[in-house]
Each structure stands twice: as C-alpha cells, then as structure tokens.
Amino acid sequence: MSDHIGACKARWGIGRMQYIVPPGLYAVGEPEPASPVLVTANYKMSYDIVRSSLAGRNIWLLVLETFGVNVWCAAGKGSFGTDELVERIEKSGLSQVVEHRRLMMPILGAPGVSAHLVAQRSGFTVRYATIRAADIPEYLDNGMVTTEAMSTMKFSFYDRLVLIPVELVMALKPTAAVVIVLFVAGLLAGGLQAGLQLSLIWSGAVLAGVVIGPLLLPWLPGRSFAVKGAIAGLLFSMPWYLIADGMSWGLPETVALFLTVSAVSGFYTLNFTGCTTYTSPSGVRKEMRLALPVMACALLLSGLLLLVGLLA
C-alpha cells in the first residue's frame, strides 16, 4: 500500500529524485545458487514493479546504481551501463552466490550495456529478456525464450496517461509566469475580463498540449508531434470559441486566439517526444528546427494582431 502511495506521489513529481533503493543483490522469494539473476535499476518504481511481477518466484535481483532513474533513461545516459554492471557484479559477490554465469536483462537497458564486453570483463553472459517486467514470469515459463510480444514496444493509453501528471508539474512554473504577465497586460489594456480571458486561453493551450495531445496521440493526424499538438490546440479552441461568444470578436482577436493556442499546444506536445517510446533524436531535431521558428512567429503575430485589434 505504501508503495502505491509512493508511486502516486512520484508520478506527480513529489520527492521523485529521492525515490530510490540502495543498489546491490536482492532475493525475491527463496532463490538458490541455480536460480536466475535479473538486473534492474534503483528507481524505486522500477524495483517495485519488478518485485511484484515476480511474486511467488525465486529469483536473484541485481539492482544497479542509476541514481533513482529508470532503466530506459539511465541506459540512455549511461549510468545503467557496462561499467556499473561489471562493478556491481564484483561488489555484490554475485559469482560466489550463484553457480551459473547468466544474467537476464531488460531489453530497454540495452542502449547502455555492451553484452560482449560484460562477458569479457565479468564472465557473465547477458540475455536480453523482455521489455516489460510483467512479462518476465512468462519468459521464464517459456524456457527463457523471448516471444515477439515480449520484445515489442507498446505505448497504450494508460502508459501515456500515467506520464501526464509529472509533465503537468514540469509545465506549471513557466505557465504560471506567463499567465501572470498576460493577466496584467490584459488588465491594463482591456480590463479584468480581457486579463482573465488571456490567462485562461494560455493555460488552456498548455493543457491541450500536455494532456489532449499525448492522450489522443495515435488518433491525431500526421507524424509530426508539433502538428499533432497544434491540432489538439485547435480542437480545444473550438468549444472555447463558441462558449466565449467568439462570433462577436473582431477578426484580429479570432486569428490571434487560434494562432496562439495551436503554437503553445504544439510546443508542449512536441515536448512529449521525450516521454515516448518511438521518437528518434534526429526526428525531434528536424521537427524543432522547423517548428520552433514557426511557433515563435505565430506568437509574435498574435501579439501584433491583439495590438491592432486594440487600436482599431
């Protein structure tokens, strides 16, 4: 239960970086010298998921020091890597505990580990087992053979949903700053209602990009995240436009609303590439090179349009 509360807090970014388990060798159930060894990271959420997936089994768990970062991100940064693995094998005295020389690794740890170098340096052979910890029992029952489903990346609605809270928290500070500036600007230029409207529109655009874009990811058209996010922003603007009686607005304000919301929403959905399981850095770089200037121009233009509308 306390693990659930802890996981929930970590999802919202509360004490996330202190959410760790000491590295070393752990026993799940009552493992023997012949029992298999599974390697994981010392992010407490990874460790808890692995442990609960393995309930009822007898397995050694070798937890690497990744400073509280999950396997995938730690492998990308190198802390879940060959050096740490070889060192942890030595420090934990693994070769005295088990009689075999085999390690089961999460497939998503592979970007950090060179299996052939681990074998050379430690004598342990590495088998990349599954992507998800939940598939480990089935992998064991399957005679330690990986099926296609076990090695296929999924990115379900739920997978995306649990990533959103921490993204919201990350977006909170810059959004609050912008909203305050917009509110004051609107207040000075057009009174309380204008100030409220501007801040609401900006907050809504951020929400569209952080929540709607990622959740509707497979259904939003195109491959580009910036485009998907811009469309999520437009989807959000429509009801807003109707509720706020947009028909009565002037053309400059209307164009400014749609430009701002799609640019801001597009930016935040593009930011979600950092959380996905299929976007390549080359792709993100290409998108940013194209999209960031367009977004900046859209915001600038919106500001000018609002000024024009104000003076007209």
Partner: protein, 104 residues
Amino acid sequence: MSVEEKLMKNFRYLKDVATIELNQSACVGCGRCLEVCPHHVFLLQGTKAVITDRDACMECGACQKNCPVNAIIVDAGVGCASGMINRWLQEHKLKKAGDGCCCS
C-alpha cells in the same frame, strides 16, 4: 492483433530521418541486434542481418552498443525536446548547466 497493437502500428515517427547504417560485410550474423531492438528494425537473412524497417528506428543505440564487430553505426541519443532546448541554452550560455529535464 489487439486494438493496442494495431494502434502501435500507427506510432510511426518521421520518415527518412533515422541515421542507422549497417555494414553487412562486417556482420557475423550473431543476431544480437534483433535481440535488443525494441522496434524490430532488423531481420536475419541467412548469416547476415539486414535493416528491413529503417523508419521504425528511434536511434536508441542498443544495436550499436551490442554489436560485437562494430558493424552498426547510429547517431544515438535521447530524443527529448526539452533536453535539446536545455543543451542549446547551456551551449549559448543562456542557462547554467545542471538544470535537469524530465529524466535527468
């Protein structure tokens, strides 16, 4: 195929951007790249690996890191937009180093 799996087929990122290259003459056909690739970019044809789905590559670098004969080259990295912006800001001295992003 479940609904989720069908949707996963829709999870395709931009075309023709992945930098992955496989030097087939060096390949020893050990199959390690097939084992580590989470997007099934490779197939084994006879005693050689081939790239059959380049656009599915997310440049994680797992294949390069685990190829025992260094037959694979990919410009690997973490595809994180805020990370890239942070790095850019740091390089241009607009922000101090160490301000983390999502998974730092």
